[in-house]
């Protein structure tokens, strides 16, 4: 009873951000491992932890920031030995190996608290495996088409909403000597974004999920339809040449220089585009067009998360930290334009005034009835993601190999999901 009261009080206090420290006597050490190694996210996280520390003077907090790429392999080591109390990671299937190995703490109790249950409902699905929740989200961002508005105006184009409009637009862009889309597939995942959208628009969110879970053959006619749609764009020269040689950052200049007019990307592409000199008058955003009118629109919105390792030593403080991180005020603050510049996970938070965040938030909350996917390499098992994204890359370079590619993916599916 008492602890119940304390919890609610803490949650309440956090949500209205009372100046006075919460009446909690958390003590000991709290070790937090972060993968937010880029300068801006790093500063954001450290400031948030600082605010948490002020509320809990008895707590000795130690923060370790690890390079984002290195983190992906190191997590395997530190979850088993020398374990922190809080660690960042990604939602959906990406956490499955650790959940299956019993290395993440079940935090369903947090999700039962009204403060979280009511305000974070939209991301609950992405945090759930086997009916339990294994962490909390702290930020997410939309995917969609970022385009050069000035070039669209010059060519007299408007934002497309259907596949026909999309193809007509693209034809005009190609005729003007530009590519419709820039993309860099050297690291494969960017092609995964295209597959996500084309498949979700052609066959719907549920089908897409079943495919990611290995329940549908890659040689199914519906999958082939997705690739046929994709091929339409490839054949008309919609994508920049030689994309297999570039990373996503190296593909940005094509758009900045006006050699390509649009980029299907996550919202994190906005910052480098602005830094490269594009103003908000030149840059705009639209939702990926509908292809099959019979399926509901669904979006990609990758979610970054906090978890408590099962071997953590100060789980009480860790839980308190998770509550703090998802509280409405903190969410507003860490996701604002000056910090992460992404979308808050808490429904009570306010979204930054940035036009891309506003549009993204609007799109995800009002115009994504089909559902919200994480991203291909987070929804599909790692092995399948790897093989398939390699196939997508090959397809984008050699669209005529589609049958050979799909039969290879089908063989991979039969091997990967059997155990």
């Amino acid at each position: 009873m008492h602890s119940m009261f304390k919890r609610t009080a803490a949650a309440l206090a956090a949500s209205v951000a009372l100046a006075a420290p919460v009446a909690a006597e958390l003590t000991g050490e709290l070790r937090i491992f972060l993968d937010t190694s880029n300068p801006a996210p790093r500063a954001t996280m450290e400031a948030m932890i600082e605010r948490f520390a002020e509320q809990h003077p008895g707590l000795e907090i130690e923060t370790t920031v690890i390079d984002r790429e290195a983190y992906k392999t190191q997590i395997r080591n530190f979850l088993t030995a020398d374990t922190p109390d809080v660690a960042t990671w990604y939602a959906a299937n990406r956490m499955k190996p650790y959940v299956d190995a019993g290395l993440f703490e079940d935090v369903s109790d947090l999700w039962a608290e009204p403060e979280i249950a009511d305000n974070l409902a939209s991301t609950k699905g992405a945090m759930t495996i086997d009916g339990k929740q294994w962490g909390v989200p702290y930020t997410y961002y939309q995917w969609g088409v970022y385009y050069r508005k000035d070039i669209f105006d010059e060519l007299g184009l408007s934002e497309p909403t259907t596949w026909e409009e999309e193809l007509a637009n693209c034809q005009k862009i190609v005729d003007s000597g530009r590519a419709c889309y820039t993309i860099g597939t050297k690291f494969l995942w960017t092609a995964g974004g295209w597959f996500d959208y084309l498949n979700m628009r052609t066959n719907g969110f549920d089908f897409h999920n079943q495919l990611a879970n290995g329940e549908i053959s890659w040689e199914d006619d519906r999958v082939k339809q997705t690739f046929a749609n994709w091929k339409q764009l490839i054949d008309m020269g919609a994508f920049v040449d030689n994309h297999q040689t570039y990373s996503w950052q190296e593909a940005l200049p094509f758009m900045v220089n006006g050699e390509a007019t649009a980029y299907l990307m996550g919202n994190f592409a906005v910052a480098p585009l602005r830094e490269a000199g594009l103003t908000d008058d030149q840059l705009d955003f639209y939702q990926f067009v509908a292809i099959n009118p019979d399926v509901e629109l669904a979006e990609d919105a990758p979610t970054d998360t906090f978890h408590i390792p099962a071997n953590a030593s100060n789980k009480e403080a860790a839980r308190e930290f998770l509550r703090f991180a998802v509280s409405a005020d903190e969410q507003t603050q860490i996701n604002n334009g000056a910090n992460l510049g992404q979308l808050p996970v808490n429904a009570q938070s306010s979204v930054d005034d940035d036009k891309f965040l506003q549009q993204g938030f609007e799109m995800l909350s009002a115009n994504s009835p089909g559902g919200v996917a994480q991203f291909w390499d987070r929804d599909a098992p790692a092995e399948m993601a790897k093989v398939s994204m390699e196939g997508f890359q090959e397809f984008m370079v050699k669209p005529d190999n589609v049958d050979r590619i799909l039969s290879k993916l089908e063989r991979a599916r039969q091997r990967i999901y059997e155990n």
């Binding site: 790429e69 050297k186 690291f187 494969l188 040449d241 790692a382 090959e394 370079v397 290879k408 155990n419």
Partner: protein
């Protein structure tokens, strides 16, 4: 009491000093060699019989991993491509030996500033493979790379070397040849210092020059250098990894993989963690290397017996 005992009874150590001393000196080396080389070799053999994701419990699967590799071979899949590329590497990489020899012959003269030229030729071996990889990646870049600018002068290209599965492996090998040639050159330069001038003189008197002089008089004396050059080049070709990782990450669509990179991809990369499968690839790579190493050891042994 000991003061009395010492003179009559020599200690065990003293009596066996001669035999023990070498082992004592060898001990640290042997220990590290055991821990970091020999034992892991057997661990890899063992691990290749299991299916393990690095986290949970390992499951014994017998020769399943090798069977999968076999099917990848049959299907012309990743394993086949890696093995084929390894073979290309092995053959193409050997070009660095004649190339190194000719540069060494060219530089083996006494003109003003030759030391500077020698160091410039040796330079690529000193810089890190990562830098070599980056430099060549930019060199090959399809839009602004020097190579395509150059081809453009002759109205050719553009050629996307690293984006085309037909050229990519050769492109990477060419980048690798740059430092490897420098290495072979140094080996030959030192070898040329030891060439006996009297034999050259004798050859001259007998009317040998140019190619005949090189083939019959110089090269036989360079045999030790050639042998070492072969060893380091073949081993270098088989363990090629860093350039691939820097320049293409095995792409486009996996066509520039070699066994070492494929092993890393399967076992340790972002989407990997099939430890058993990776170990099976490592075992295959080890067996291939073993053939060469055994041959080298055998010929070294024969050499020593001959003298």
């Amino acid at each position: 009491m000991s003061a009395v005992d010492v003179p009559e009874q020599e200690s065990w150590f003293h009596r066996n000093q001669q035999r023990i001393a070498p082992w004592l000196f060898l001990a640290p080396g042997l220990l590290f060699f055991m821990v970091y080389v020999i034992i892991p070799v057997f661990q890899s053999f063992n691990l290749s019989l299991y299916e393990w994701d690095g986290l949970g419990a390992a499951e014994y699967v017998g020769f399943r991993n090798y069977e999968d590799l076999y099917w990848e071979w049959v299907d012309r899949d990743a394993f086949y491509i890696s093995l084929k590329n390894n073979l290309i590497w092995l053959i193409m990489y050997l070009l660095s030996i004649p190339a190194g020899l000719f540069i060494a012959l060219f530089l083996n003269q006494t003109v003003w500033g030759i030391r500077l030229y020698k160091s410039l030729f040796f330079f690529p071996f000193v810089i890190s493979q990562v830098v070599v990889g980056l430099v060549f990646t930019w060199f090959y870049d399809p839009t602004f790379g020097l190579l395509n600018e150059f081809l453009g002068l002759f109205g050719m290209g553009p050629l996307n070397i690293l984006g085309d599965e037909r050229f990519v492996t050769y492109g990477i090998i060419f980048a690798g040849l740059w430092p490897q040639t420098a290495y072979c050159m140094i080996l030959y330069l030192t070898g040329l210092n030891a060439v006996d001038p009297e034999q050259i003189e004798a050859g001259r008197l007998d009317g040998a020059k140019g190619g005949r002089m090189l083939w019959h008089i110089i090269l036989p004396q360079l045999r030790p250098a050639t042998f070492i050059a072969f060893v380091v080049t073949i081993i270098g070709a088989l363990r090629s990894f860093d350039l691939i990782s820097i320049m293409t990450q095995g792409g486009p669509f996996g066509s520039s993989r070699v066994l070492a990179y494929y092993m890393f991809e399967v076992a340790l990369s972002e989407y990997g963690f099939r430890m058993g499968y990776g170990a099976a690839i490592a075992v295959i790579l080890f067996l291939i290397m073993l053939c060469f190493i055994a041959y080298f050891l055998w010929s070294m042994y024969r050499e020593e017996r001959g003298h």
